[in-house]
Symmetry: C2
């Protein structure tokens, strides 16, 4: 159950083709495209075993949700919201910035928010109020004016409360690929959005990828992962607890311990056995441990090299001197530095975002952040002096490219 891995084993598992659900998803997309809201009601009945009579969650339903949630949880959500907001606020770009003016030319960048975005919040095995915060806060900080949320029926009261805390505009009880299709294509009830963010199962991810010509997405999402770089100073009980936490997400979740200490894996294995008994989700954990394991390496540099090839969603650094490791790492969704930084902190309340690229995608994609909800326009303010300063270069290059009218549009301004 807890065994040595090779890097190749991990990488080939990561690259394994996902279950092909594209046929089923295409049928769902076609149904939503053809019959709109009616298709959504029917698909909810088929997949969620509920016949709904409306899709949009009402104010009354949100009030009821508050009544059913422990006030201590509401307080915790509010505290988490505040910490997530503070960190994302630091990522915000200036609305408009300019270079110094030189030669009569001032250049700048103007940042503006998207107008309408959609988030998908899974239901099923667990409620994910934290995901609502992770998707809504960066959009709010960016200044997006309409933020909608789809989640499978029946909506979990925690999800509704989190959506209210986070200022979500509208919540719809629609799940799966049909939710993605509705937000991408629009129905009578759900107007289309510009971008869809948030995690989801294979159907949701397939729908996001297949509808990418109609809507933008954050990035493809797969099962959650952790890599832990540890040396002889790491505590086996902490490492084991982190591996169990990762494993309880999903039977397909995966953990890898990368260590310079050949004795550590056995100690961690013992702690895993001890802790797994108490874990309510131990069946899921045992399945996830099946694709988890450890790599023993010679040096910390080797550990970093292996981790960079894996490009883990979560990277935990539990070594004597973690900051030089942080400096050298290139590929990771979110990095947890030191033995007192379990991934659970970033999942809920440190302030960083937990919507992160998986399956090696951290080589290419950033985790969800404020810039997913903005776009930029470049700006140039050019005076008569400015066109004189660059007109000659513009005209030479335009002429070389055979674009004579481009050259004329510069020359006509310099000849007056």
């Amino acid at each position: 159950m807890w065994t040595a891995l090779t890097l190749d084993t991990w990488l080939s598992r990561q690259q394994a083709t996902l279950t092909d659900v594209s046929g089923a998803v295409q049928n769902i997309i076609d149904e939503v495209a053809g019959r709109g809201d009616e298709a959504l009601f029917d698909l909810c009945e088929r997949f969620d075993k509920i016949r709904l009579d409306h899709l949009r969650v009402s104010e009354d339903e949100i009030d009821e949700a508050y009544e059913s949630v422990d006030p201590e949880i509401v307080e915790a959500l509010t505290e988490a919201f505040s910490r997530i907001w503070t960190f994302h606020e630091l990522q915000r770009q200036k609305d408009l910035w300019f270079s110094g003016t030189e030669d009569g030319i001032t250049l700048g960048v103007k940042t503006t928010p998207l107008e309408r975005i959609g988030m998908y919040v899974p239901g099923g095995r667990a409620a994910y109020p934290s995901t609502v915060l992770m998707c809504a806060v960066p959009a709010q900080v960016a200044g997006v004016s309409e933020i909608i949320c789809c989640t499978p029926p029946p909506a979990n009261p925690l999800t509704l409360v989190a959506a209210d805390v986070a200022g979500v505009t509208d919540i719809y009880t629609v799940g799966g690929a049909q939710a993605i299709a509705a937000m991408a294509l629009g129905t009578d009830t759900i107007r289309p959005v510009q971008k869809i963010v948030g995690p989801g199962n294979a159907y949701v991810t397939a729908a996001k990828m297949m509808l990418r010509g109609r809507v933008e997405i954050d990035f493809p999402a797969g099962p959650s992962e952790i890599a832990i770089i540890a040396d002889h100073t790491a505590r086996p009980d902490f490492v084991a607890a982190d591996i169990l936490a990762q494993s309880e997400h999903d039977p397909q979740a995966a953990s890898v311990l990368i260590t310079t200490d050949p004795g550590l894996p056995e100690q961690v294995g013992d702690w895993i056995e001890r802790l797994v008994e108490e874990a309510p989700r131990h069946e899921i954990i045992r399945q996830a441990l099946g694709q988890s394991g450890y790599l023993i390496v010679d040096t910390i540099a080797d550990a970093i090299a292996s981790s960079d090839k894996i490009a883990p969603e979560h990277l935990s650094i539990q070594v004597q001197d973690p900051l030089p490791v942080l400096q050298k790492v290139r590929n990771a969704g979110s990095i947890f530095v030191g033995q007192y930084a379990p991934v659970a902190c970033g999942d809920y309340a440190s302030g960083t975002n937990h919507v992160l690229p998986t399956a090696g995608n951290a080589k290419l994609y950033s985790g969800l952040n404020v810039s997913h909800f903005t776009k930029t326009s470049t700006v140039q303010i050019i005076s008569r002096e400015g066109i004189d300063a660059i007109g000659d270069v513009v005209e030479r290059l335009a002429t070389a490219e055979g674009l004579h009218a481009h050259a004329i549009s510069s020359r006509i301004r310099r000849e007056i």
Copy 2:
């Protein structure tokens, strides 16, 4: 030829379905996937009417290209390179930044470059050395170590010189959808890249969209466009010159003048007639003028509202007081402020990027910039004090979500 438009006419033209080339492109992708380099040689022969014996441009071929290019053009390219570099350098994010430490928690963002990217540089109607600079410079500034370029054979000497000036790693003479397939899937000669950027025709764009599960792209590209917001102070000759410059790109290019001055369109039309005669590409220009025209509006606010609905690739602001217009605009690829700022300046040498979203995509996408070539990892450094500060919130939310092992991974650290 130069007529009044309605906003609806423009928007429906923008949204018109592109010619469906997906069948032809899928065949090309399949050929490259199946036969690699051999397919590339065959497709070059079929589409470019050249039987190549190698794909990678040699050092000798680059030296020869320098000999055939006017030194004044090399100098202009170098000057443009320098201005583009300076502006893109301003966009660069810090490699690693941290928030202030509070409660034992320090949060940060680490920015790292992609490793290997590809650019597509069109051949055909004209040479595009400027596009080489626009794609390569932001990648270089970001710190990308391998930047490859595909361009149809025979490679234009200007393109080769620009690639050398811009520090492109390898240049391959492969054009069209087959170039995109080669960079996405890899062949013996061309190793796959992480992201493909740059403009292209309908085949290139279709290939980029179709291969998006295998490679990331910048954004979909279509025919070039300009909107010009002008009042009674605008000079009709300048406006006409800008419209002609836009029109010479492509028979499908489009220009719209949005003006509060009902007399301006006729004057602009007269200047267009006068200037078009001298333009070597007048046939292309006349075709492009067929889908161009003007909107007369009551107020500058109305002009801004129309422009934001169009979300033009290029927005030129030629009014008495342009800065308040700049402040209010939300959707535009690149904004040219004042009557001495023709789009040609941004195409070549002001320093801004000319690879920009078209067809309304500026509502959602930014033009090419340094952040297209980087990704970020969030960081948290948490001390014992830190886990004490947020552990309670983490454990409450984890328990509420049913993720008990997450709660344990926090609690185990607080109980020692």
